[in-house]
Amino acid sequence: MSGRFIGKSIARKEGRQKVTGRAVYVDDMEMPGMLRGATVRSPVARGRLRDIRLGNGIPWDEFTIVTAKDIPGKNCIALILDDQPCLADQTVNHVEEPVVLLAHEDPYLLEEARRAVELDIEPLPPVFTIDESLAQKQVIMGEDNVFKAFLVESGDVEAAWNRAHLIVESEYETASQEQLYIEPQGMIASFDSEQGLTVWGSMQCPFYVHRALMTLLALPVNNVRVIQTETGGGFGGKEEYPSMIAGHAALLAWKSGKPVKIVYDRMEDMAATTKRHPSRTRHRTAVTRDGKLLAMDIEFIVDGGAYATLSSVVLSRGTIHAAGPYFCPNVRIRSKAVATNFPPHGAFRGFGAPQSIFALERQMDQVAKALDMAPEEFRRRNFVREGETLAVGQIVREKIDLPALMDRALELSDYHAKRQRFAEENPRRQVKRGIGLASFLHGGGFTGSGERYMASVVGAEATPEGQVRVLAASTEMGQGTNTVFTQIAAEALEVDYDLIEIAQPDTSIVPNSGPTVASRTCMVVGKLVEAAVLGIRQQLVTTGLLPLRGYTSEQFRTACREYIQRHSALKATSEYSAPPNVYWDDEKYKGDAYGAYAWAVYVAEVSVDTTTYEIRVDDFVAVQEVGRVINPVLATGQIEGGVAQGVGFALYENVVWREGRMVNSQMTNYIMPTSADLPRIRVFFEEVPYAHGPGGAKGIGELPIDGPAPAIVNAIENAVGVSIKRIPVTPEALMEALENVHA
């Protein structure tokens, strides 16, 4: 039931620019008289800033220098709690915290100057673990080091333990992960007293940056303009941090009167910017004799780092996903985001869900083992069905058939035959093989009431040339926003693909369609695109310039041109309204947490070399139900890329911290998967159209990072019989696990 464009693999809209090297990223831009900016950062994790000294041998009078004292507005990065300073003043709370900004036209002299600034900091005892933070020996945030806590309760967990056939308890941990977009973060700012501030850069959320700059420089709304340049990957890493760099570039531009470019090199980017929250999850699970879940008691804690950033919302998503796609009558989830003296952790694709889902899907295998039941059978007996409720009380109204999804994944991966064959062969082999699975869900759009509060707006306008231009703040960062929006608009208007233009996100032109996050762009904003362009057509029809149906694209163009000649402009907007029956209670933390979920079963096959402790993923099958697939090639590419990042999360990507500093902040020693490391990633879609998504689509961007890590570690356990509870499973970690067993 493909449409003319929806369901078709239309080529990426900006593909030609990208394959010819003509796409313009922020570091490709030059401006007359432009200075380079650099950031002097704290070398210690926690302390009192006593003095800033400018060292000898540098012509300091040639430099623009900015400290906290120069800030004309409020010294914070406006986001949720406004607790994070733009430049540290009096205290520092993490290594790499920005303290002084410098600008000069010569990048080499600038680097020498950066090294010549001495920060006199009196060290204070830092907090580096979740346990230290919870113990409150040092209180570094608020009264108790807790940024946010949630409690989910349904049924009566305490009353259920007595009735259990079995109770299984375990603890799981996930480490930090670096987003590692290949384009480092960067911004250019320019200030003039009449027009105010203009900022260009690599970002996911132009209006986050806009708000942060208004607050920082005390500027009115119309004197700040934020323009997204081509963005070389984000994965959440360019959700909130760009406000920081934009703020720095803006302060230097404001003080110097010249345009200023700040582009991080890879080491600075990796060491200073946000990463995925490390987590610790404790599970206590009660089951009946026939393998039905009776009670799930889950404690989920994430390390937020030194400032709040988005930790409360990351925690919320992680909490809601912690009980997975299962029905259980008694659930309690207690969760906390705690403060430490690491650089703040922040948004990363999956947003808390990969952490809590890793723990759950490992636990499901542990419980199945205790029951002496096959892991797929144990899951099958507990899958949530249409009409049943999830842990937060959301009734599943989607027509989802999880057992069928699992059957398909098992068949495509040849799961049963392989499991049997590996069990026979492994005792004789030094390279042991295993196969494992994970089943999971991922909510599309903001959590809870987020979309209602956001009230996103999308605009559309006809151009004098007779094109229709979509106006949205949603950014293209590789995931296909431009292409998918064009497909949705062309399908709705029944016109040629080329008739649709997508405006560059520029806060002076586009309305606030919300941040480009949370798997919401296609599902939520795409629906608004559809409504906005239909508003254009409605006006053409009402004025008699276009017949209601049966028109050609050329007629549509002519109608647009004529309308503009007569009325000078043709615009339409649409604003979000929640689908009927979707309601979330913030107070009780209960209700419809998401408008819709994507559902998936992933199967990983691994080989484990018991001599070298190397682990390879040999095959990967990803089966998911994501509503209508708007563009199969782009969607498949998103899933493959997410799985690849998930393989890295499971096996390779290990942020090494020493005294609060990331010591492997290079691509040489922080290892992400290369083309030689990954298996064939085989992607399959089930499509159950979602009534409130454009063309029936749901969100897919984050889903694929949730499943690989538990599926892979379950496969490792299948191969070597050892239960590993912490990722990444580096060769060193595997060696320890195997030697403990042999000891």
Partner: protein, 163 residues
């Protein structure tokens, strides 16, 4: 700090002769991007790991962030800007069609790696050839699968054109 004298270095870029005045240890990447304003080559890591800055020097795939400009005296350099003629190169066409470019930042280097790979293999490369041919170019978006497919498609087109 001792003054280092700038040096006149002559080389060809995309068929055009250039002479630049540069410090001998200036990175070729900076000379291309800043002096010649050829910004297709990107800096992803600055230490030869990611391949976003890849160019062809005398038809060899090289990370331009690791090459001092003094070394390219007399060389023929091809950047992403020199790959398409009147029409796109078969690799570029296939990248668009197969969805091999997502955010696009690794794409210039990846396209050059693919072009170099095809030059090395007159017959159809195996999957292992492709995997090792691209192993010096990191992509965080695609998981490489679409890129493999694009290279195979470009090979098939080439085979078809030769037949």
């Amino acid at each position: 700090m001792p003054e280092t004298a700038k040096l006149a270095v002559s080389f060809q870029v995309n068929g055009q002769p250039h002479t630049v005045e540069a410090y001998p240890m200036a990175r070729l990447l900076d000379v291309l991007r800043r002096d010649l304003r050829l910004t297709g080559a990107k800096e992803g890591c600055g230490e030869g790991e990611c391949g976003a800055c890849a160019v062809l020097i005398d038809d060899e795939l090289v990370n331009s962030c690791l090459v001092p400009v003094a070394q390219v005296e007399g060389c023929k350099i091809t950047t992403i800007e020199g790959i398409a003629g009147e029409t796109l190169h078969a690799v570029q066409e296939a990248f668009i069609e197969c969805g091999a470019a997502q955010c696009g930042i690794c794409t210039p280097g990846m396209v050059l790696a693919a072009v170099a790979l095809l030059e090395r293999h007159s017959a159809q490369p195996t999957e292992d050839d492709i995997r090792s041919g691209l192993a010096g170019n990191l992509c965080r978006c695609t998981g490489y699968m679409r890129i493999f497919e694009a290279i195979l498609q470009a090979c098939e087109k080439r085979a078809g054109a030769d037949a």
